[in-house]
């Protein structure tokens, strides 16, 4: 068949398909039960036109049509609220447990470095100034002064709602960056995790050493469960990204990166959700002037619940 005949016979079919595509792309559904069949016809035409070296403009036109058809046929499903439920109840804790080695590593790195520095400050109080500006140390001392008006909140701080927004912006951004920095062969993630551990250790150690330990501990304990854990999970996700490049196993580095990035993503989603919860607790619960025993009690309950959730949720039922 020559090109001209081919075009004459095919043209009505192509125009019909294009009109159908227009309707589907505009959001129409289920009005074309034979859509896959018609799409395959277009693919046939394209293959034929290419094989017979028909003119470039015709091949391009058909390629275009087939591409649009392909997109309409294979368009992604939209997520639903039920999927969110399944994610929280099952997929997220499973993703965390699947990475238990990295979780253990990052957790030990974080609390280990924080603990070492907190201890070191007890013997060498000047250590805190080698890392923090004297100005910010003074500010921290003011914030957690047991005699202060509201513990954990700078005297000139804004209302709770403003702080809630700020915590979301600040903490989730840190979490996202911790994940992304893993692309630098894991080094970026390690740096951010260690940096935050050093900061936390020094501040806790310093405030304890000058006798302000209880105010900061009672302030941090409740939201810390979700906030610190979420940042660590993003650290795990970042390490997964870095490891995919460092030891791709039997895969090419490109494939390893793509597979492992998608594998790490649930940890990032979950961390973001946990940080929203943490921001709410930090803004509205943590500054409340309650007895230390109440604060410790609530904090302990939250930590326990979180651990139980991470360890037990979403396990397949034993038969």
């Amino acid at each position: 068949m020559k090109q001209q005949q081919f075009e004459q016979r095919g043209r009505p079919r192509w125009q019909e398909f294009e009109a159908l595509l227009g309707r589907l792309e505009a959001g129409g559904r289920s009005e074309a039960p034979d859509y896959p069949f018609r799409y395959r016809r277009i693919c046939q035409d394209l293959a034929l036109a290419r094989d017979r070296r028909f003119s470039r403009s015709l091949v391009e036109q058909l390629n275009d049509l087939a591409l649009r058809g392909h997109r309409s046929l294979y368009r992604a499903r939209r997520g639903s609220l039920r999927e969110l439920g399944a994610f929280v109840g099952r997929d997220f804790p499973r993703a965390v447990r699947a990475e238990w080695r990295l979780v253990l590593f990052v957790t030990l790195l974080f609390y280990g470095s924080a603990g070492v520095l907190a201890g070191a400050v007890q013997f060498e109080p000047e250590l805190v100034y080698s890392f923090l500006e004297p100005g910010s140390v003074a500010q921290l001392e003011e914030m957690y002064d047991p005699a202060g008006a509201r513990v954990g909140v700078a005297p000139d701080a804004q209302e709770d709602l403003a702080r809630f927004g700020y915590y979301i912006w600040n903490n989730v951004s840190i979490a996202f960056r911790t994940f992304a920095a893993g692309l630098l062969f894991g080094a970026g993630t390690l740096f951010i995790v260690t940096f935050n551990a050093v900061y936390l250790g020094l501040v806790l150690g310093h405030l304890t050493q000058i006798g302000f330990g209880e105010p900061i501990r009672t302030f941090v304990i409740a939201h810390g469960a979700f906030e610190l854990t979420a940042i660590l999970f993003c650290g795990v996700a970042g390490m997964r990204l870095g490891l995919s490049l460092l030891s791709p196993g039997g895969r090419s580095r490109r494939l390893a990166l793509r597979e492992d990035a998608h594998r790490a993503l649930p940890l990032v989603y979950g961390s973001a959700l946990m940080l929203l919860l943490a921001a709410a607790i930090e803004a509205f619960w943590s500054p409340l002037p309650l007895a230390a025993s109440v604060k410790y009690g609530v904090g302990a309950v939250l930590w326990t619940l979180l651990l139980l959730y991470l360890l037990l949720a979403g396990r397949p039922r034993a038969n």
């Binding site: 090109q3 001209q4 070296r53 087939a66 392909h70 209302e159 992304a180």
Partner: protein, 227 residues
């Protein structure tokens, strides 16, 4: 062909060609988006700061959303393109040509942070120049591609309607292709160049003065014109 086509194999057994977009249109798209985001934040700031502390809190959340999720929301809900990309005629798709979904869009936009390093997307630019389909690091990890959405159809080239003439010798497929392409493009070339090209097809042109016209007629025959 020296081209930036990214072939995609489909289950239907044909290869579809995506046209990958290079650094320049993408940088321009980013610039348009950056201006739009700045304007968005400025407007939100002016509106919300009037409400005091509560407005401040909402402003932080708006900043957070605009900073991290502006590209994701537009890419997934807005047919693969942020307003900047739409202006430049670009679109984000999966590597297999399907529309981009939440996980891939989120990944490519979270990893933007690394592509930005050490300043102004230097890392991303380097990766794009190495990769055949102009993928930056985020695209590589997410398995996405930035392509031209609209096809610029070549000026609708058609073989002129002249009386068909059978070629004096049998032609291979590629030779037939060349003759037809010549006839389609001749109207866009200068007469001198057309004559020069026609002379190359010596066995068909036979050094005659009307070589161009004869080639046109052969092209008409080859595409299947009758009478």
């Amino acid at each position: 062909m020296l081209d930036t086509l990214h072939p995609v194999q489909t289950p239907e057994g044909v290869d579809l060609n995506l046209r990958a977009a290079g650094p320049v249109p993408r940088a321009l798209a980013w610039g348009v988006d950056a201006l739009l985001r700045a304007a968005l934040l400025a407007a939100a700031g002016l509106g919300l700061l009037a409400f005091g502390a509560a407005g401040m809190g909402v402003l932080f959340i708006v900043t957070f959303l605009v900073w991290w999720f502006y590209p994701v929301l537009f890419e997934v809900l807005g047919r693969g393109a942020t307003p900047g990309k739409r202006v430049m005629g670009l679109e984000v798709v999966h590597e297999d040509g399907t529309p981009v979904g939440w996980p891939a869009s989120l990944l490519r936009n979270l990893l933007r942070v690394v592509d930005f390093l050490p300043f102004l997307y230097v890392a991303g630019l380097c990766t794009m120049l190495i990769d055949a389909s102009f993928r930056r690091l985020g695209d590589l990890a997410a398995g996405t591609l930035v392509v031209y959405a609209e096809r610029v159809h070549a000026a609708s080239a058609e073989v002129p309607s002249v009386a068909p003439l059978a070629p004096p010798i049998p032609l291979t497929l590629d030779e037939q292709r060349a003759v037809i392409a010549f006839a389609e493009r001749a109207p866009f070339l200068s007469p001198a160049r057309v004559a020069e090209l026609a002379a190359i097809a010596e066995p068909l042109a036979e050094n005659r003065a009307d070589a161009v016209e004869r080639l046109m007629r052969m092209a008409a025959w080859l595409v299947g014109r009758t009478g």
